[in-house]
Every structure is written in structure tokens, then in C-alpha cells.
Amino acid sequence: MPPALCLRGAVALAGRFPALAGVDLVAEPGEVVVLAGANGAGKTSVLRVLAGLLPLSGGEGQVLGVDLRSDRRQVRHLVGMVGHAAALYDELTVEENVRFALRAARGDLGRVGLALEVVGLGGRLRRTPAGRLSAGQRRRVDLAVLVARRPALWLLDEPHASLDQAGRALVDRVIKDAAAGGATVVVASHELSTVVPMADQVVTLGGGRVLEVWRPEGWAEGGAGATSQGQDEAPVVVAGGPGGRDVA
């Protein structure tokens, strides 16, 4: 089976600035990949490249078997993305926003009700105009679209931002369910203590490059067994715990 996503030496420009300067990344179906790194490290750019929003200027890339260089628009039909800002139509209700997104994506409208219940926006909230929602509730609407659409690749940019404790638990549950259902989930986050326990691999970025790749088996128990792979290096056992990895 081909990997769900594969970047080889990916270079991408944001204007004239190199947002990515040769990123390698491979993930299998059903994996959760966490992108870590400081602000400006390239996390969002990786997500945008994988979504087909940012073109590759160099290197190669494939998402779910579709070439990112030649068929970016086709990739967009296969991925679902939750970005920094929830782009909703304020005058439409929560349900109308989800229904519109689902109709546009040729999704199953029968899943709208279920998706809204899953993200805690059932009842009266589904008929509330999106303009009256809090930032956290708006993020839940974005998540509801993904839950209803069930894309094969989920791209989440700081999904825990603006959310209360219940909302953060909801995001974790949705990520786990998506991966359990065979979807690949790529999460860019500063909150490693929250997302790493769910991750199959953690990719640390810096300056548009991959600084480190590691698989966090046993990370929650103190890091024993976590493996690390730098760029062009064989996997090595990480010495010490992961305590210093959290860049939040």
C-alpha cells in the first residue's frame, strides 16, 4: 500500500521567502503525525503544501497517490483542513454552514446531525448564526465539517487553540476516532504534552527543515523506547526523556 502522504525534499515559497527548504515526510494510512517547532518553523506551510494550497517549488510530493506538483486541485478534494481561523459565514446558522460545506464537497448530508452532536453543537446551537458563536464554538463547527466529510487526510493547525477543557478532550477524541477509522491525521501544535501521546510520529521542524523525527512509543511513561531520526540519519534511540521537547 502506498503511503498516505510523502514529501521528498519539498521546497515551498511564501512570496520570495522559502517557507520550506527541503522537507522529507512520510506517513501511512491511519497514522497520527505531530508537527512540532517554534513559530515560523514551517508547520503551517507543511499543512498548506499537503492541502494543495501552497505549490511545491522543488522536490516531490504525493498525497493519497495524487501528485502535488501536477494535480494540486485534485488533492483538495481528498483532504480536510482546520486552519487558524474558522472561516464561517456569520449570517448562516451552524447547521447551514456545515450543510453548505458538505454539499460543496459532495458529502453525505445525512451525517450533518451526527457530526454536530459529536462536536457538542446539537440542540439549539445548530440553529444559532455562526456570527454569535465564541471562537471555541466556531472551531467546533470546523471540526464538525471534517467529522461529517470523513476525508482520508486530516490537517489540523493548532486544533486545541481557543478551546476549553471539554473542547480539547473533544479534539483528542475526534483525532483518535479519525485515525482508528483509517484516516491519516497531521497536527501542527505547540501543545506537545496533549498531542504526542496520540502520535505515531513527531516531526520537529525548524527554519523550514526537518530537525528531527521520532516515534513516541512509551513517551507518556517517560520517554523510554522513543526513537529518533534526524535528516538523512538512521533511527537512533533517544537518550533522556522528552521533557525538553515541548516548545510551547
Binding site: 494543495g52 494550497l53 480536510g80 483542513m81 487558524h84 481561523a85 472561516a87 460543496a104
Partner: protein
């Protein structure tokens, strides 16, 4: 493409109905324009009725700028462009849908403007079919051109002032042809013949110009709307 167009048009019209911008801002603006023109030209009904076609189309041009700015603003929030690109909607469908929504909004305003022109300026309608045909062809052209330039200026600083600069000059053919055809529809003859007292002749070329303008901008928008959305 057509499915996406209906979807986008329905969404935009629903948003406009809920926001009530048309009711609270655009319609009062249209009424204000009619009254201001009437004040500027004086109480002579012959002058007013003679100028009515041109005034109507100038008012429609201003209202098109408002409607297009509003239409572009719907997709202008943070992350809205990326969301639209990821939505699965075909760009030509988005363009046609947004154009259709603007056409419907302008049509509503034009009906009220037409009634206002008739009542306030005393312009009697002789050929309603020609009036409706000219209005429809001109409105489609203006909406298509406006939607196209609205998307071009969407991510530009000072877009509110840039859009009229781009749209108004290219709308001159609509202003010319629309005014001539309205003149003919109101008086039962074309402008030149109205002045000379000759029988009705020569509306066909003006109607053809309006139709060609509309089709050209519809085709251009269908082709270039996608690349515009992809521009960095």
C-alpha cells in the same frame, strides 16, 4: 459547474436576506440617487424624462459597485480564501454563482428604480419587452464584470476605491447601449430617431452590444476566476 453555481448563489442570497444590507443600505441609496438627480435637474418634467434612461443606468452602475463589494466581502474573512479553495467547489461555478446572486439583487433594485423613474421623472414605458431585455442583458454584464474585478481586488489594500476605478470605465458600453435602449423603450423609438422624429430603427446593434458585453465577461470570468483565486 452549474450545480456549484446554484449552491453559491443560494448561499449568497440567503446571506444577503439575513444581513438586510439590500433593504437597509442599497435601496435607500437608490432612492437617494433618484431624488438627488431630480433636484439637480430641476422640476422640468421634459428634462427629467429625457434624462431618465441615463440616470437609471448611472444609478445602476453605482449600485453594482455596492452589490459587488458586498458579494466579495462575504468571502473576505480570515482564512476564507483557503476555505473556498478547499471546499471542492469548481471556480467557474463559484464565479457564476456569485454573478447570479448579484444579478438577482440588482434586478430587485432595478424594478424599484424603474418604478421610481416612472413616477418621479414621468417617463412612460412604451415597449416593456425591450426595457426588460435591455435591463437583463446589461445587468448580467455588469454583474459578471463586477464579480470578476471584485475578486481581482479582494486581497488588495484599498479595494473599496480600486473596484470603482476598474469597473466604471469598462462599463461604458453598458451605459451607452442601456441608455439608448431604455430611451427607445420609453419613447418607442431609438435616440437618434427620437431626436429627429423618425420611426423606430436601430435597436438591434445596441442590444447585440449589451449581449456581447455580457457573454464576453461571463466567458472571461469562467476562464480566469480560478487562476485569480490561486494567485499568491
Amino acid at each position: 459547474m452549474w450545480r456549484d453555481a446554484w449552491l453559491v448563489a443560494g448561499k449568497d442570497l440567503r446571506i444577503e436576506l439575513r444581513s438586510r444590507v439590500l433593504l437597509h443600505q442599497v435601496l435607500p441609496f437608490a432612492a437617494l440617487v433618484l431624488f438627488l438627480f431630480a433636484f439637480a435637474l430641476g422640476p422640468d418634467h421634459r428634462v427629467l424624462s429625457g434624462a431618465a434612461p441615463g440616470l437609471f443606468w448611472v444609478a445602476v452602475l453605482f449600485l453594482t459597485v455596492l452589490a459587488v463589494q458586498r458579494s466579495a466581502a462575504i468571502e473576505a474573512g480570515p482564512g476564507a480564501r483557503d476555505t473556498l479553495r478547499l471546499s471542492g467547489l469548481e471556480p467557474p461555478g463559484v464565479f457564476l454563482g456569485k454573478t447570479l446572486a448579484v444579478v438577482v439583487e440588482l434586478a430587485v433594485v432595478e424594478v424599484l428604480l424603474g418604478v421610481g423613474v416612472d413616477l418621479l421623472y414621468g417617463a412612460g414605458i412604451r415597449e416593456p419587452g425591450l426595457l426588460v431585455g435591455a435591463s437583463l442583458a446589461g445587468t448580467v454584464g455588469l454583474a459578471a464584470a463586477g464579480t470578476l474585478y471584485g475578486s481581482l481586488t479582494q486581497s488588495v489594500r484599498g479595494r473599496e476605491t480600486l473596484l470603482p476605478f476598474l469597473l466604471l470605465p469598462v462599463a461604458v458600453p453598458v451605459l451607452l447601449a442601456g441608455s439608448h435602449l431604455w430611451q427607445a423603450a420609453l419613447r418607442g423609438r431609438d435616440v437618434s430617431s427620437a431626436l429627429s422624429g423618425a420611426p423606430v430603427v436601430g435597436n438591434g446593434p445596441w442590444l447585440a452590444l449589451l449581449t456581447a458585453f455580457s457573454l464576453a465577461y461571463l466567458a472571461l470570468g469562467v476562464v480566469v476566476f480560478g487562476p485569480i483565486q490561486e494567485a499568491p
